[in-house]
Amino acid sequence: MKRYIISRVVQAIGILFGVLFIVFFMLQLTGDPVSLLISRHASPEEVEALRDELGFNRPILVQFTSFISRAVVGDFGKSLRHHQPAMDLILERLPATMELAVAALLISLVLGIPLGLIAGSNPGSFWDVLSRGTGLLGQTIPNFWLALILILVFSVNLGWFPSFGRETWTFMGLTLPTRSVFLPAFSLSLFTMGQLIRFTRSAVLEIRSEDYVRTAYSKGLAAHRVYIRHILRNASIPLISIVGVQFGYLLSGSIYIETIFSWPGLGNLLAESIGNRDFALVQAIAFFSSFVVVTLNLLTDIAYGLADPRIRYE
């Protein structure tokens, strides 16, 4: 197990270095990164001054090493727009994105797994059709469109939820979500929910016909017991990896949903900084999102290895 964990950690670090490489050279590919980093109305003298200040007139290898050595400690330079270190801005936005990601994950787990379970245990039934339909729609409805429709129905027409913004309330020093999280979280959860339904369903279908399930039935266990103790438990192993991967993406911030709902998270920050052509910040967000995703993948892999010994000896 130790070897497995070490090899995964090394892999993850390798990926993150690759990301730094991509993020750095992406700006270089445009020819002159300084022109991207400065306002279009800047005078040639100002451009030169910035080039000097940011060190873009040095040899590319020197620039790359200095970029890496700063990035490793989380220093991605200052946002041109906000005149603040890029990392501080990101950390400021993180709680909102986390709230949204957790809420979306909860919604998809609470709805997706039972639906998949019911569908898998009664193939061809009404529930099966319903959950397969939901799974398919989850995959084909663009969440940015769904969000608009939900706003139209539930905020504009029914007035049940606010149409944008994040409201929180504080209880015993804790910041807690309000109903304002519901619409964005639901729009965001539909895709993950679809994935969970499809996977749970096919896992249940497969496990149902295993010998140990027949044995469980034949020794007289009640159906719900068989489902929870034998089927769901075995299905949970592949589910771990889906949940882990999906949570990583949810945490890296949804640019559409956060923009539409003016949710003050990472996705919104990314959209803003692209609009402002604030590329130092874009670089930082791209790296940070990758960091979150890679870390979660790593944790998932480790959890997977713990849960299923077969994986370790691959």
Partner: protein, 366 residues
């Protein structure tokens, strides 16, 4: 749905990866065994005819896979293939519906100038913000209403399908051709080359797809060509992974071993034995990936990072309609429905293809 892209991917891959082997093996092995009595030379010939048949768009794997038409194999030809496919399609209603939906979109894109009732670019401020025909103030002149500049929404949706399908088709073409070549190379070569390539592939697949696509699009600037190139190149890893997985499975399977044992060259093995059997999984993945690209293109358009706003595309229309959501909801609603319609059609079609090309999946499903 980010990821839809990246997120869509693992699922399809998982499903496709664990397949195709059973469909491939029985076909070739069966053939070899039958012919093994008369001697090795004939066996080789038998395989050659098989291979020639397989070159015709993967129909052999259809037949071998379903076990329906083993006897009819000799009756080749386009007509037979069409009838056969039609029969398979009718068995699965969802697949037929998907094909019809997708064909409608392709038809709209191809014949847009003839179908569209208006010029999609023509502004007519006097007729702006007209509601669809079923509203009181709507008229048949603009069946789905007009946008804030008085442009006909139906016509813009019809023309918008051109952008979506162009991006999807050429994006997949680039990703698929390069990805297959790299995957073949990686799987066949093995060893250090394979490790290196797969390291890169896994790295790219581990990134938050949407964040990087948005990042690249913002740097390169918006144009149709850029969008195609972005999707084409970022999607290569998916095809590499699929191809490589299949190649590695096939290399150790009976029919490749027997080809090797009679002295077939690597080129021959790749082109005559492996590539035809790769068609099934690749076509399936290509369908899903194309649908994902259409989706992402709309997403980029929504952020104003896809084709320039002057070109009618579904994403651009959504972005424009968002501002008027509460007062003139139809401006944003219909382009969204067009995306859902296309995505649904392609997903149903993809599911059907997967079932047809992999009988094992079908058994699990029913």
């Amino acid at each position: 749905m980010e990821k839809s892209e990246p997120e869509i991917k693992p699922m399809h891959q998982g499903k496709v990866m664990d397949k195709s082997e059973p469909e491939v093996k029985p076909m070739h092995q069966g053939k070899v065994m039958e012919k093994s009595e008369p001697g090795i030379k004939q066996m080789h010939q038998g395989m050659d005819t098989k291979v020639a048949a397989a070159k015709k768009g993967g129909e052999t794997s259809l037949q071998g896979g379903t076990g329906l038409a083993v006897d009819e194999e000799k009756k080749k030809g386009l007509l037979h293939f069409v009838i056969y496919t039609g029969r398979l399609l009718l068995r699965d209603k969802a697949g037929a519906v998907g094909l019809v939906m997708f064909s409608m979109v392709v038809f709209a894109a191809l014949f847009a100038p003839w179908i569209a009732p208006h010029d999609p670019m023509k502004q007519n401020l006097r007729d702006s913000k007209k509601p669809p025909v079923w509203y009181e103030k709507g008229s048949m002149e603009y069946p789905l209403g007009t946008d804030n500049l008085g442009r006909d929404i139906l016509s813009r949706i019809i023309y918008g399908s051109r952008v979506s399908l162009t991006v999807g088709f050429f994006g997949v073409l680039i990703a698929c051709s390069l990805g297959t070549v790299i995957g073949l190379f990686s799987g066949f070569k093995g060893g250090r080359t394979d490790n290196l390539i797969m390291g890169g592939v896994n790295m790219i697949l581990a990134l938050p797809y949407l964040v990087f696509v948005v990042f690249i699009a913002a740097i390169l600037g918006s144009s149709l060509l850029n969008v195609i190139l972005i999707f084409g190149f970022t999607d290569i890893p998916i095809f590499v992974r699929i191809t490589r997985g299949e190649v590695i499975k096939m290399r150790t399977s009976g029919f490749v071993e027997s080809a090797e044992s009679i002295g077939a060259t690597n080129t021959r093995i790749i082109f005559s034995h492996i590539l035809p059997n790769l068609l099934g999984p690749i076509i399936t993945i290509a369908t899903f990936e194309m649908s994902a690209m259409i989706f992402y293109e709309a997403g980029l358009g929504f952020l104003g990072l896809s084709v320039p706003p002057s070109i009618p595309s579904w994403g651009n229309m959504l972005a424009a309609g968002r501002k008027y959501l509460t007062i003139y909801p139809w401006i944003a609603t219909f382009p969204g429905l067009a995306i859902v319609f296309t995505g649904l059609g392609m997903n149903l079609l993809g599911d059907w293809l997967r079932d047809v090309l992999d009988p094992r999946m079908r058994r699990v499903k029913k």
